[in-house]
Symmetry: C2
Subunit: 340 residues, 2 copies
């Protein structure tokens, strides 16, 4: 199941997690020498880092076993090199954690996840299977399952998978995280980078605000299914299985959009619903000197694949940014419902 | 004056300019094969590319002589390799051209340049020398000169320097440019990438709306002085020369902010004014895992260097984006006036 490359890649992630504390302390020492921060500021920064490090070390310890006991020892543990990209992945992880599993993400989840769940209730029968490719930290999939559907979450990034595992199965373990400590650009003052939140926060469901989220029991009862691996591979031999598919900021990161849409169509039952939300900003670097896709192109590809467009609107939202920054990016995303 | 490295770097720029048309045509052919665009769309794209290419080829032809006749033949012309980064510089150039020298930039120039010129009139005597480091395509420096001061524009990027030269001394030559043709992310439809504008447009001055801009006569009369080269080097042996310095989105791109601020202080006469505007988003990649500077830090460094803060406010603006995009970044920039 795991290639040698994948095992190396994940081992580098684990090494970055266990080295996060030391790497940050080196950077803090450098700041101290430069005299850029007061002792009080450095102490606060140190505390923030130590809290984030507690989470990452917990992740590194539990990560391998989160893929099943048979996988716990297959990742190399010595002579593993990690680079800045691995550290940047940890930064991205903190942002995703804030968005999906802390109170800092309440507004963004309300803007984006609520309309998705409302559309599922409008167009899809209860107890239908709903696929969420690019599920990240799985909050949307958990909400969908909690809301009365059977949610299947698919994610390929190791570090996201481990973080999702921690957020959902931590047996009550909670962490104080400082998600914006590495990005203080556009801030008035240093202290604005030290916003913290409790992770994970399972205190209430968007779909059913009176209810606490309970991922372990959703998995126990097979209402939430987790599938690790690349979308194209995992679903290559599956067809006409799902009543709905939800892609949320997912089309923006894949390289072959046309074939992915054809694949989504194949995976849906007749009459099944594809809900897409995102700004169509292609983050994939391999697209060359011209960015190839517009919202109109997605619609055309969907029609060519056999979809009808049954609903479209715009949803204004941000994506995981420090609430105190003076550099604000707003996405006027397209919210589309297509029917097979 | 020019190092071998600098000559190689500029030669690569020139090669990218002369190859732009062919590189884009290759990309268009690929799109044609993929069937992603209609023949009509490809024809429109081709026309846009050809117009941009006309400008770049004109730049490549005039570029070397823009540094003086003695420099015209010192750049290598054969076996020159350029890469994607050189092509991306051309894309950045088109954006800057739109912002500084076309009607597409009217709103942004009104938001940012107008308050700068108003503050100069408030705090600085007419005919004083005003330095503009990181002057880019020099529009702000030209407006400052036109407005009654003596403006000295300093820029280190070759491609910006050549573009500034073309915009100011083109002997009436004008180009139709399509500045957003390479960035169609977040757009509804392909056609939204084909916004065009006449470059350069010298039809009116911000500081004096009744007046057309006339850079050649400003230079002729020594009211506008252009200094090519890196800021630290060019001004190493200059002190107490300027009545004012204006840094506009400049602090955001330099690596050693502290020493730059000390240098600004040294360059000003007693009582001289430093005007800074920008979001303090550090784009410099060498800053490491923690972004070191906030707005508060700039103020502290300014005070340590000997400046008094005499005025601060916020200016909301964007920076050179396609007006039709659904991904909008707004900068709530700090506008500060410091006195030596």
């Amino acid at each position: 199941m795991w290639t040698t490359n994948e095992r190396q890649e994940f081992a580098a992630c684990l090494a970055a997690m266990t080295s996060y504390r030391k790497e940050c302390q080196k950077a803090i020492l450098k700041m101290h020498k430069q005299g850029l921060r007061t002792d009080d500021q450095l102490a606060k920064l140190n505390e923030a880092i130590n809290n984030n490090a507690n989470l990452f070390e917990y992740m590194a310890e539990r990560g391998p076993e989160s893929f099943g006991p048979e996988n716990a020892n297959m990742f190399p543990k010595i002579n593993i090199h990690f680079d800045d990209q691995d550290l940047n992945q940890l930064d991205a992880c903190l942002h995703s954690a804030a968005r999906d599993w802390t109170s800092l993400g309440d507004a963004e989840r309300g803007e984006v996840y609520s309309p998705v769940i409302a559309a599922l209730h409008k167009y899809v029968q209860p107890n239908e299977e709903v696929l969420v490719p690019g599920s990240g930290l799985c909050r949307l999939a958990v909400e969908i399952a909690q809301s009365g559907f059977i949610a299947e979450a698919n994610e390929s990034s190791f570090v996201m998978l481990v973080m999702a595992f921690i957020s959902m199965f931590s047996d009550g373990a909670q962490f104080l995280i400082f998600p914006f400590v590495h990005q203080i650009s556009g801030l008035d003052k240093f202290e604005d980078s030290l916003i913290s939140a409790v992770f994970p926060d399972l205190s209430s469901s968007l779909a059913d605000p009176g209810l606490s989220l309970d991922p372990p029991s959703l998995i126990e009862s097979s209402r939430l299914v987790l599938k690790a691996g690349k979308f194209e591979g995992v679903y290559a031999n599956v067809s006409e299985k799902f009543g709905a598919i939800v892609t949320c900021f997912f089309i923006d990161v894949i390289s072959d959009v046309q074939n992915t849409i054809i694949n989504l169509h194949k995976l849906l039952k007749d009459g099944g619903i594809w809900i897409n939300i995102g700004p169509i900003v292609n983050h994939n670097q391999s697209v060359g000197f011209f960015s190839p896709l517009t919202l109109e192109d997605i619609d055309r590809m969907a029609r060519n694949a056999g979809f009808d467009i049954i609903e479209q609107s715009r949803i204004d939202t941000s994506y995981s940014q420090n609430p105190k920054t003076h550099v604000k990016t707003r996405y006027s995303t397209q919210f589309s419902v297509y029917r097979k």
